[in-house]
């Protein structure tokens, strides 16, 4: 008993090299590194399997969904900045806008781009360009979907007053994840829509 008490005292006395939020942050960034390997592999397969060409997609829609996702990242940044300064109202408003833009991105890619591509004859079985297009956008859309779910949970917590200027790790984690998903699209958008000649159908 005396030993247990002594070791507890020792653990309390010696400061850890990193505080807990810093360790959380480092852990999340290590998760991003592992995710980056996954997306880098997908990106490498895109250029290895379809060198010099790209799927023949709707350029306007690609630009619109990209703008929507970038704008959502801005509102997520705004939400995090607001809560870190104790502004709950701006935090909640910005978070709702981020969620709506995220849903808009999903609607644009899965609800509009996929049917348009299918109508153009680009299907998962139509060839390498179709397989790559659905694999890349599908994998990314799944991450956006999980991000939207994460943000809805954070919004619910925010409404209940869980976060404050001093303690809002949940918001920071959701923001980091959302921006990471945005960074992935920064690579995927040119890879799918801009680099190479449009593949003939």
């Amino acid at each position: 008993m005396a030993r247990a008490s002594s070791s507890a005292h020792t653990a309390h006395t010696f400061p850890l090299p990193f505080s807990r939020p810093s360790m959380n942050r480092l852990g999340l960034w290590l998760f991003f590194v592992s995710e980056a390997f996954l997306f880098a592999g997908i990106l490498a397969s895109r250029f290895a399997l379809l060198p010099g060409e790209r799927p023949n997609l709707n350029q306007s829609l690609g630009l619109i969904v990209t703008s929507v996702l970038l704008l959502s990242s801005f509102f997520m940044y705004r939400a995090e900045t607001a809560i870190s300064h104790g502004d709950h109202s701006t935090f909640l408003t910005s978070l709702v806008l981020t969620i709506l833009l995220g849903v808009g991105f999903l609607a644009g890619v899965v609800g509009m781009e996929w049917p348009l591509a299918t109508a153009e004859g680009i299907t998962p079985a139509s060839g390498v360009d179709g397989a790559l297009f659905y694999f890349m956008t599908g994998m990314h859309a799944f991450h956006v979907l999980t991000g939207v779910i994460f943000l809805i949970i954070v919004y619910g917590n925010g409404r209940r007053g869980v976060y404050s200027a001093e303690a809002h790790w949940g918001v920071e984690a959701a923001a980091l994840y959302w921006h990471f998903v945005d960074v992935v699209w920064v690579f995927f958008y040119p890879a799918l829509y801009l680099i190479g000649r449009a593949a003939a159908r």
């Binding site: 990193f18 505080s19 807990r20 939020p21 810093s22 942050r25 480092l26 960034w29 790209r54 350029q59 630009l63 990209t66 703008s67 970038l70 704008l71 990242s73 801005f74 997520m76 940044y77 705004r78 995090e80 900045t81 607001a82 870190s84 300064h85 104790g86 502004d87 404050s164 001093e166 303690a167 809002h168 790790w169 949940g170 918001v171 920071e172 984690a173 923001a175 980091l176 921006h179 990471f180 945005d182 960074v183 920064v186 690579f187 040119p190 829509y193 801009l194 680099i195 190479g196 000649r197």
Partner: protein, 73 residues
């Protein structure tokens, strides 16, 4: 710096970054049309856009120097 000044400054940074990202995306689109999808200039823009998001939106310096302010517990 007061809390309000700090917030205003951070919000201004956010505006600058999103405007830069929008401009770079437009440039990316035009370059693709002009060059027929040449990857080299697009790769440069991709890296700049990634740098902006990682540095300002994802606060990479917070990971590298744990003393910086963050989200708390």
């Amino acid at each position: 710096m007061t809390n309000e000044q700090g917030k205003a400054r951070a919000m201004r940074t956010g505006w600058i970054v999103i405007v830069l990202l929008a401009v770079l995306t437009a440039i990316e689109y035009v370059i693709s049309l002009m060059t027929g999808g040449n990857w080299l200039p697009l790769a440069v823009i991709i890296l700049i856009k990634t740098g902006l998001i990682v540095q300002y939106f994802m606060h990479l310096p917070r990971v590298l120097s744990p003393e910086q302010q963050g989200g708390g517990h």
